[in-house]
């Protein structure tokens, strides 16, 4: 059974069908790319997947379970975590606290024991700190654990967002343009990190990206979206050599 199955997904905003008849199957362990020109509806697909928007039609199944139309919070608990195209960190809080907020649902400790500082509070804090530092070290951020996250350089902010999403212990990780605004070195590091979490955490990843070096470098399969519809789908090499795709990106000659 596929980890993620999307069938005939559509959403209509007034007269605009932003995503129309979208189908996608992602197997467990896949590193899947979603590409397409600006305004094609890629982020809308992510917003539909995470419950930010409710689809007009269609079914989304995660691990066989229907999650269509659920709230963002429920969907996260089912195992979908995401990053955002325009970075959304908890800016005023430290790097460590950002990850600890991601860990929120992995640990439980009542508000009363927090306020009264009962032993369970200290136990949970210690466990959260250890787990958070472990995740930060994957992304080479453990040295900046105490930095206020808004003060991190751009590339590291993107990495922190991935670390925070990973903290929710997802089955499926959605990355919305993870390499946007990164220089070639940062992109290279990011590719290594993505491969690392995929191998070591057995993570299934669906990503949106414009950086073709990253897409052709790590994605195994691609879906190309244009004007809200699927242009083509398949293994990366085949898709990128498809003349229709070249035309969608570069226009007719």
């Amino acid at each position: 059974m596929a980890l993620l199955e999307i069938n005939q997904l559509s959403i209509q905003f007034g007269g605009l069908r932003a995503v129309d008849d979208f189908n996608l199957t992602v197997e467990k362990g896949d590193l899947y790319g979603l590409i397409g020109p600006n305004g094609a509806g890629k982020t809308t697909v992510f917003n539909l997947l995470t419950g930010e928007y409710k689809p007009t039609e269609g079914v989304i199944r995660l691990d066989g379970k229907d999650i269509t139309g659920r709230s963002t919070i429920e969907i996260n608990r089912e195992g979908v975590a995401r990053t955002f195209q325009n970075i959304r960190l908890f800016k005023q809080q430290s790097v460590l606290d950002n990850v600890k907020i991601g860990l929120h649902n992995q640990y439980s400790c009542s508000a009363v024991s927090s306020i009264l500082r009962l032993p369970s509070y200290f136990a949970v804090e210690r466990q959260m700190n250890e787990k958070a530092m472990e995740l930060l070290s994957v992304f080479d951020l453990e040295g900046e654990a105490e930095t206020i996250s808004a003060n991190l350089p751009y590339g590291k902010q993107r990495k922190l967002e991935i670390a925070r999403a990973m903290a929710t212990n997802p089955k499926l990780l959605l990355l919305d343009e993870p390499a946007a605004g990164m220089n070639p070195n940062e992109t290279q590091e990011l590719m290594e990190d993505i491969s690392y979490i995929r191998e070591n955490f057995g993570m299934t990843i669906l990503l949106i990206e414009h950086d073709m070096r990253l897409v052709s470098g790590i994605c195994e399969k691609l879906t190309v979206l244009n004007f809200g519809r699927i242009l083509t789908q398949g293994p990366t090499k085949e898709v990128l050599s498809n003349p229709e795709v070249v035309k969608a990106y570069l226009g007719d000659d």
């Binding site: 919070i73 908890f90 809080q93 907020i101 991601g102 929120h104 508000a111």
Partner: protein, 362 residues
């Protein structure tokens, strides 16, 4: 790992400073009082100062930590004041002073918390400034409601009316408890500086401990970025309700303290009106939004100034305005903030949490 340990103690060290500051201030004032250095006028100011500082702590939880605006916090204080005074009048002769006053404070907090919860249910599901509008209305409504409420007691039990005293139909042995616009008179005079200080101290510890916990981080995550908080599975409505209700409980306790310091408790605009709610907001903003310690300091200074400067008669409000402006500059001007951070490490500059909230906008 080592880095983590020192930092953890940094946040708690900062909180410890706040607690220590309160205790030292309390000890100094108590010392002056024992030495007979505090005149009766200033002595009478001590309980109101504790009340207002507690209100500042309470409102800071909503405005600074949760990032929602409440313009009716005096309303919660009013509810707490009347609920607790009502209870005290009811059991004035049937309970000992200590258990009765303790229960009165808890009841004040609980009733205000209930109101906070009920208001929160429809409003906190929404985003935006709805909370400000609804709390503003709540503050005004509750005040007017209490002004038409008549409650009396006789051998047959309690009588309620929202018309007038006569319609209660009290028997000969009857006694008024809440007399509409005359409010509650003769509430036992139980509040004193020690109790006031304890309420302030406990409220402060509760809020500071909350901030540095799993729940507190979730609440601040909602403030910093609601969409991202939802994306990592933080139950947004639940934590908004929690913070708002807790804030209302603290405001209710402050109200109970306030009520037991007055011979007659009347829901006048001067005591529980819109202007008071705004005054509490001024404490929070001038203290540096999100800083519990700052809010307390601002509340103390701004409550004291008009009294200390009483000899200047009308000119004192001029000084008050100047102090407001100076505090605003000191707390919010980037240059002065940098100066404070560089020269007063840890103590007054406040920790990472203290600087939070409004700095980057929300």
């Amino acid at each position: 790992m080592k880095n983590k340990m020192t930092s953890m103690s940094k946040a708690s060290r900062d909180n410890l400073w706040t607690i220590l500051m309160l205790i030292i201030a309390f000890a100094v004032v108590q010392g002056f009082r024992m030495g007979g250095l505090v005149n009766s006028h200033m002595d009478g100011m001590l309980v109101p100062i504790c009340v207002y500082a507690t209100m500042a702590v309470s409102l800071n939880l909503v405005v600074g930590i949760l990032g929602e605006l409440s313009l009716g916090h005096a309303g919660f204080m009013c509810v707490g004041a009347f609920a607790s005074a009502f209870f005290s009048k009811l059991f004035e002769n049937s309970m000992g002073v200590f258990p009765r006053f303790l229960l009165a404070i808890l009841i004040g907090g609980a009733v205000a918390g209930l109101f906070g919860f009920l208001i929160g249910i429809p409003v906190l599901r929404l985003n935006g400034d709805y909370l400000a509008i609804v709390t503003l209305a709540f503050g005004e409504i509750i005040k007017n409601l209490i002004n038409v409420l008549y409650v009396g007691r006789d051998s047959n039990g309690l009588h309620f009316s929202i018309k007038d005293q006569a319609s209660l139909g009290l028997a000969e042995d009857g006694e008024m408890i809440i007399a509409g616009p005359q409010g509650i008179t003769g509430t036992p005079f139980n509040s004193n500086f020690v109790v006031g200080f304890l309420i302030l101290l406990i409220s402060t510890i509760v809020v500071l401990n909350l901030i540095n916990s799993r729940e507190g981080r979730a609440i601040m995550a909602i403030r910093d970025n609601r969409i991202a908080a939802g994306s990592v599975g933080i139950p947004i409505t639940k934590y908004k309700m929690f913070a708002f209700t807790l804030s209302a409980v603290i405001a209710g306790c402050a109200g109970a303290l306030y009520a037991h310091n007055l011979s007659s408790l009347i829901a006048t605009p001067a005591r529980f009106g819109y202007n008071m709610s705004i005054l509490f907001l001024v404490f929070v903003v001038l203290g540096g939004i999100g800083s519990t310690r700052g809010a307390i300091i601002a509340a103390v200074i701004l409550t004291l100034i008009p009294e200390v400067l009483r000899f200047m008669s009308d000119y004192r409000m001029l000084i008050y305005a100047i102090v407001l402006i100076v505090m605003m500059i000191v707390n919010w001007n980037p240059t002065s903030r940098a100066f404070i951070r560089a020269h007063i490490p840890g103590k007054l500059s406040g920790g990472k949490k203290a600087a939070g909230g409004g700095e980057e906008g929300r």
